[in-house]
């Protein structure tokens, strides 16, 4: 959100804005909630943050000049989530892209199939990933975003979306297989 968008945010929105918002932005509430839920790992907190993000989006709505409304909204949701995390769980944001990525073998398709077929197990594995890995996976796999959209939402250069996803998937493989004792030996 640019400064000019914020400036326009102080405008009083009328019934026409409300109707446009209803048509363009509100249909993406599920996407907003889903992203918030996976970033915050809590449904209750996500309700609050998704509502706050939606209201912020509404206040900035006159700064939205058409285009991809879902990406525009998700960008606001993501920012609101990170602000919330900084305030409430600052430690979570400290484990970032700091790891020196050692080449890891991909888990075998069979191993992943076994590990990934359990919803709880998959959820736990996703939640162990640092937020910046988690979000690209959620946007790509659950939301079906294009690289261009992911770049817009997460504010990373479009050229690095592919490698960000590659690393996130490798992390997920490890998280899935690491927590499955019988698969540990294969990974090492």
């Amino acid at each position: 959100m640019s400064g000019s968008d914020q400036g326009r945010g102080s405008d009083v929105l009328d019934a026409q804005d409300r109707q446009r918002f209803e048509q363009l932005v509100l249909p993406h509430l599920d996407a907003a909630f889903n992203l918030a839920r996976w970033l915050l790992r809590s449904r209750a907190d996500s309700e609050d943050v998704a509502q706050e993000a939606m209201l912020r989006a509404y206040r900035f709505f006159r700064g939205f000049h058409g285009g991809d409304a879902r990406a525009w909204l998700l960008q606001i949701v993501r920012n609101t989530c990170y602000t919330w995390l900084e305030k409430n769980r600052p430690v979570e944001l400290m484990t970032e892209f700091d790891e020196e990525l050692h080449p890891q073998p991909s888990a075998s398709p069979e191993a992943l199939a076994i590990a990934g077929d359990n919803r709880e197990h998959l959820t736990r594995a996703l939640e162990t990933l640092p937020p910046r890995f988690r979000e690209v996976l959620i946007l790509r796999e659950l939301e079906g975003c294009s690289y261009k959209e992911i770049a817009a939402i997460t504010a990373i250069p479009i050229g690095t979306v592919m490698s960000a996803l590659a690393r996130a998937r490798q992390r997920l493989h490890r998280a899935l297989t690491a927590s499955t004792p019988q698969e540990t030996s294969r990974e090492l």
Partner: protein
């Protein structure tokens, strides 16, 4: 393990983000790279798992409702520009303040037979008007038996007229006046060299005692209702003098 494609291009291929040339290049590579073939298989398997267990979490219905309410609250209604709640309170408080100030600052002598109440400002104006040369009395007489019949036929009521010369309030005369659009009787009394106007008009309101004094612009007044008549005595004399006359008339 050594294949760079596994860590990068494979994902673009998996996600359908490669252009045709690069996709073709990767497919040719895939034919000869077991590592990439395995990795691609693993990613496709994982993607299938993610879809199968449906991790997507939809917004609760209650949240949708809450947001709609909040959006409505943040929207100006077509009828009126929306003000924040505290501003409405401020506006309401200001209106209330002005209303209460005018209520107290402008005493009203209510009379149910009159469409709207007589105000102190009108009483004062009428009193000042009476002091202009030639305006004080229509009938100049110290004789109550002259003044009282004079009103007969000129008003729809007969005001009580008494001379209180013995008490230091000689009757000077009487005249017709108009307060708030209705004809009233004005009785004029003297007090040393000062003039007291006593306005009298009929009322259906119950009797009251003599109200506490009002004062403005150097004038004092006393107001009361007694036996179907409303009285307002006004003058520049002291309130104790005014009160004394009011008590004499009230008896």
């Amino acid at each position: 393990m050594s294949c760079d494609f596994t860590r990068t291009v494979l994902h673009g291929y998996l996600d359908g983000e490669l252009d045709a040339a690069r996709a073709g290049e990767f497919e040719r590579h895939l034919e000869n790279c077991r590592e990439c073939a395995n990795a691609l298989g693993a990613e496709e398997s994982l993607r299938a798992s993610l879809r199968r267990v449906s991790l997507y979490e939809q917004a609760p219905v209650a949240l949708r409702k809450k947001i709609r309410v909040a959006l409505d609250a943040a929207t100006a209604s077509p009828a009126a520009i929306r003000l924040p709640a505290w501003r409405w309170l401020a506006v309401a408080a200001a209106i209330l303040l002005v209303a209460s100030i005018s209520w107290f600052a402008v005493p009203r002598f209510r009379d149910s037979s009159v469409s709207s109440p007589v105000t102190a400002a009108e009483i004062i104006d009428a009193h000042i008007r009476s002091l202009l040369p030639g305006h004080l009395t229509d009938v100049a007489s110290t004789d109550q038996h002259t003044v009282k019949p004079w009103f007969d036929g000129k008003l729809a009521f007969i005001p009580p007229v008494k001379d209180f010369a013995d008490d230091g309030f000689p009757l000077i005369g009487g005249r017709l006046d108009v307060l708030n659009g209705q004809n009233v009787a004005a009785l004029v009394y003297g007090r040393r060299k000062h003039v007291i106007n006593v306005f009298v008009w009929p009322t259906k309101e119950p009797d009251t005692p003599i109200h506490p004094p009002g004062a403005r612009q150097g004038y004092q007044w006393r107001h009361w209702r007694h036996q179907g008549m409303e009285f307002c005595a006004i003058s520049d004399v002291s309130d104790s003098d005014l009160y004394e006359l009011a008590q004499l008339i009230y008896q």
